[in-house]
């Protein structure tokens, strides 16, 4: 049952076949190695036994040399008996050169296969090797040799003939040993057993290692086969390689089919691409025509835009000139008032100065005259003149006149200062400014012809210095003030200017009690060129410019108005107009 299962597995797996062949080869090699090793061991051990036994025989032969020579049987017994003490030595014999036994000692042995003396002597006399292996024993023999007696008497005295001294030997007899093979065979068996066990252990290790290694190495192949088996019907190949072969063949077929399909699709696609390309070329041609048309239109638009920008610039310049006209008119009015003030005082001042000159001359002449009548006469004349001109009143009048002139000059200086503050013509950059000063100087230049019956109420709160472009802001403030004053021109009213700080933003609120702005107009008041004033009364870009300026300051401008009740314009500026930004303008009705 198990064998059948293994047989089925081996048939189904190519790697299993390889492993089985490899293991079989290993087993064969192990068997061959075992046999070879045992033979080598046996050969080596036999050689060892041979050399060991021969060494024993040689030693025995040397030790009994003298006793064999003298045939001293008693002395010969001792070495032979001592050798027999060894368990494996079965027999020891010492023979004469003629083969006559001098000593023959032996043990009883189970085997009757001990070679007899005649056999041994036959071997010895035939000059056979000193060692012979018998079925159950080893036999060793060694000649008992003696140095040949020298024929030269000189050698008795001197070592004069080495060849004679050490060379020729003459046999005195032989020693033979019979050694049992029991221990030898036992040792051989044990060596074979040990070798077999080692080889078996190595075989087991090799087979186990091979199985593990093969299992690890063929893991990707098995995974691939499992995948194939899970996607295909099992049994398309007689083993896993057959299955792979079938799968690869099918894959190649599928691939060929796919390539064919791709080729067909490619051909169709190329045709479609050609058609589409042709259509796109036509469309592209139309688009090119349109693009040229659009480019032409764009150029016209750019030209119109440029013209518009130029017109806008001209209008802004007109607004600036109008504002400047108002300012100039205000300045001229104020300066004219002051000049009138000064020029009116000048005739009276001239008269008074002339009177003083006459009086001073008269008194001077009187003082220079020698005391006498003439001097008294001149003095009386001077006193009369003093009375005539009412010197004390003259002095009072001169002080008043000088005061008037001083006031006129002072006002002119203030106007000039305000004009300087208002215009800031040389300070177009951002700087920290006190907005209250800006508002005050701007008020100087509001349209004076509408100021009659209008009360300016200033309610300034505590605000910090604001980073701004003061000239531009003054333009905004003047525009809003003029609009408010104009709205109140007919019936009069109050223009209230309020400042306060809220959420790090400065609020400047302008409230008038004028006619107000209708709901329809209110959303358009910041549109360029929109005006509710009559022809020639306004350009329609004042508030639009103001809106743009406040945007530049990242601020807001709001308008609240009720028709017939007045309007509230509120400018909200960040303390640092260079950094912060506010939401867009919120125009709301009342």
């Amino acid at each position: 049952m198990i064998l059948g299962h293994f047989s089925k597995q081996i048939r189904a797996s190519y790697s299993a076949k390889l492993i089985a062949i490899f293991i079989a080869a290993l087993c064969l090699m192990a068997t061959a190695l075992n046999i070879t090793s045992n033979r080598m061991h046996k050969s080596s051990y036999t050689k060892y036994m041979q050399s060991n036994g021969l060494a024993l025989a040689q030693l025995l032969a040397k030790s009994v040399q003298l006793d064999v020579f003298s045939e001293n049987l008693e002395q010969l017994q001792m070495p032979a008996a001592s050798l027999l003490d060894r368990e494996d030595i079965l027999q020891v014999e010492i023979l004469t050169s003629k083969g006559r036994p001098l000593v023959s000692l032996g043990k009883t042995h189970k085997s009757n296969q001990i070679p007899d003396r005649a056999t041994l002597l036959t071997g010895i006399r035939a000059q056979a090797p000193h060692f012979k292996e018998w079925p159950t024993t080893f036999s060793y023999w060694w000649p008992v040799e003696a140095l040949a007696t020298t024929s030269s008497e000189d050698a008795l005295y001197f070592d004069v003939e080495p060849a004679q001294a050490d060379g020729e030997q003459e046999p005195l007899g032989y020693v033979t040993l019979l050694v049992s093979k029991i221990h030898y065979e036992k040792d051989i068996r044990e060596m074979a057993l040990r070798t077999g066990l080692i080889i078996l252990l190595l075989l087991v290790l090799l087979v186990t290692g091979t199985l593990l290694l093969t299992r690890r190495m063929t893991l990707p192949l098995r995974t691939l086969i499992h995948k194939i088996q899970s996607q295909r019907t099992i049994g398309e190949g007689h083993d896993d390689i057959g299955l792979l072969d079938t799968t690869v063949t099918n894959l190649i077929k599928d691939l060929d089919h796919s390539f064919e399909t791709i080729t067909n699709l490619k051909t169709g696609l190329e045709n479609q691409v050609k058609e589409r390309t042709r259509q796109l070329a036509l469309a592209n041609q139309g688009l090119t025509t349109r693009q040229e048309y659009l480019e032409e239109a764009n150029q016209q638009l750019e030209k119109a835009m440029q013209e518009l920008q130029e017109t806008e610039g001209q209008l802004i310049q007109s607004e600036k000139m109008a504002a400047l006209g108002q300012v100039v008119a205000g300045v001229a009015h104020e300066i004219n008032n002051n000049i009138n003030f000064i020029s009116g005082a000048l005739p009276s001042l001239s008269r008074g100065i002339n009177d003083l000159k006459e009086l001073t001359r008269t008194f001077g002449a009187a003082c220079l005259e020698e005391p006498g009548e003439k001097q008294a006469e001149m003095r009386l004349k001077a006193l009369a003149l003093k009375k005539e001109i009412e010197q004390d009143d003259l002095f009072t009048s001169l002080d008043e006149l000088m005061g008037n002139i001083r006031e006129g000059v002072k006002r002119t200086i203030r106007i000039v200062t305000d004009l300087h503050t208002f215009s800031r013509a040389d300070e177009q950059g951002f700087k920290r400014v006190d907005l209250h000063s800006s508002l005050d100087s701007t008020l100087t230049f509001v349209n004076k012809k509408y100021l009659k019956g209008i009360f300016i109420h200033q309610e300034y709160g505590t605000i910090p210095l604001v980073t701004c472009r003061p000239g531009r802001l003054n333009q905004v403030f003047l525009n809003i003030m003029n609009n408010g004053i104009q709205a109140m021109a007919r019936q009069g009213g109050t223009l209230k200017i309020t400042t306060f700080l809220e959420d790090d933003h400065v609020h400047i609120r302008f409230s008038d009690t004028g006619c107000g702005i209708s709901k329809e107009v209110l959303p358009k008041i910041f549109d360029p060129f929109f005006t509710s004033k009559g022809p020639g009364a306004g350009t329609g870009i004042g508030l639009a410019v103001s809106y743009k300026i406040i945007q530049e300051h990242r601020g807001r401008i709001t308008v609240t108005s009720r028709e017939g009740e007045g309007s509230i314009f509120e400018v909200i500026l960040p303390v640092d107009g260079q950094k912060e930004a506010l939401p867009p303008v919120d125009n709301s009705d009342g």
Binding site: S70, A146, S152, E153, L156, F158, V160, E161
Partner: protein
């Protein structure tokens, strides 16, 4: 005038008789060192003893040609070569050399380092030489000087070879008892040795080729070791192998003696008139390790 003439003749005669031109052929039994040592001593002494020619001469006109015998040489051819060279003297070093030179009768022969020259050459008129062994009596006298207690001396010998030696020793040492064991072969030695147990104070090893062989030498040593008996050997060669005492053979002295014989032969003496020389001085060599092991107490003044 006559007197002057007679003086001149006398001077010329003297010069003629004193001419020392000498051709010597030294034949060595083998190239072994003992022969070479003796030959060197011979040559040196011969030159030293020979007067030179005139006051400025530093070397006499002596030629010594040395030959080492080899096994493959043909003795007859070599002898012919020697005769052809008209040698004045042959020095035979060793038994083999004497055996080679003995057939030459017309050239004087001096033997050297030959144990038994009589056995080789017998009484031959042109042969004389230096005996190898000191006189046996002198040997025992030297031994008695250091070991006076050695009264009984055991000796195993081949009567055919060394009986004379034993007799000479016995005659020269009346106070010493020589326990004799004659043997015909070396195989009898162990039994004879066993028979000497307890009978002797000293074992005398003779230069007897029948008795002494490498095997029997081992029997001697074993006996001496087992029974604590010292051995007196005839050559130093046995000292390191187990003998307790040995007669030192002074090879150079023997060489010098041979040179003296050669000089006399050249001076006109006949070899048969020159009896063989023998060293009178006997030097005993002692194996100190062995004497200590045997517990021997030697006399003061020992060599």
């Amino acid at each position: 005038m006559l007197n002057r003439l007679c003086l001149t003749i006398l001077i010329l005669c003297h010069t003629a008789t004193a001419s020392y031109g000498l051709e010597v052929v030294a034949v060595k039994s083998s190239p072994a060192q003992p022969y070479e040592t003796a030959l060197q001593a011979f040559s040196k002494e011969l030159i030293a003893l020979s007067p030179g020619h005139g006051t400025k001469s530093i070397q006499p006109d002596i030629t010594i040609r040395a030959i080492s015998l080899r096994d493959d040489e043909q003795p007859a051819e070599l002898r012919h070569e020697i005769n052809k060279g008209k040698a004045d003297l042959i020095v035979a070093l060793g038994s083999k050399a004497l055996r080679f030179a003995a057939p030459i009768h017309d050239i004087p022969i001096i033997y050297l380092l030959v144990p038994s020259p009589a056995e080789i050459a017998g009484p031959q008129a042109n042969i004389t030489g230096v005996l190898l062994q000191p006189e046996p009596g002198a040997q025992f006298r030297a031994l008695k000087d250091i070991m006076p207690g050695a009264k009984r001396v055991g000796v195993i010998y081949d009567p055919a070879k060394t009986a004379a030696l034993v007799d000479q020793a016995a005659a020269a040492n009346s106070g010493t008892v020589f326990v004799r064991r004659p043997a015909r072969s070396g195989q009898e030695v162990p039994d004879h040795l066993a028979s000497l147990t307890g009978e002797i104070d000293l074992l005398w090893m003779l230069p007897d080729s029948t008795i002494l062989s490498p095997q029997t030498a081992m029997s001697f040593y074993r006996f001496a070791h087992q029974h604590q008996i010292p051995i007196l050997a005839f050559s130093e060669k046995y000292l390191a192998r187990g003998a307790t005492f040995a007669i030192q053979l002074d090879l150079e002295e023997m060489g010098r003696m041979a040179a003296l014989l050669a000089l006399r032969i050249k001076q006109g003496k006949k070899p048969q008139d020159l009896p063989p020389m023998r060293t009178e001085r006997v030097t005993l060599k002692i194996n100190r390790a062995l004497t200590d092991k045997l517990g021997l107490k030697l006399q003061e003044g020992q060599p």
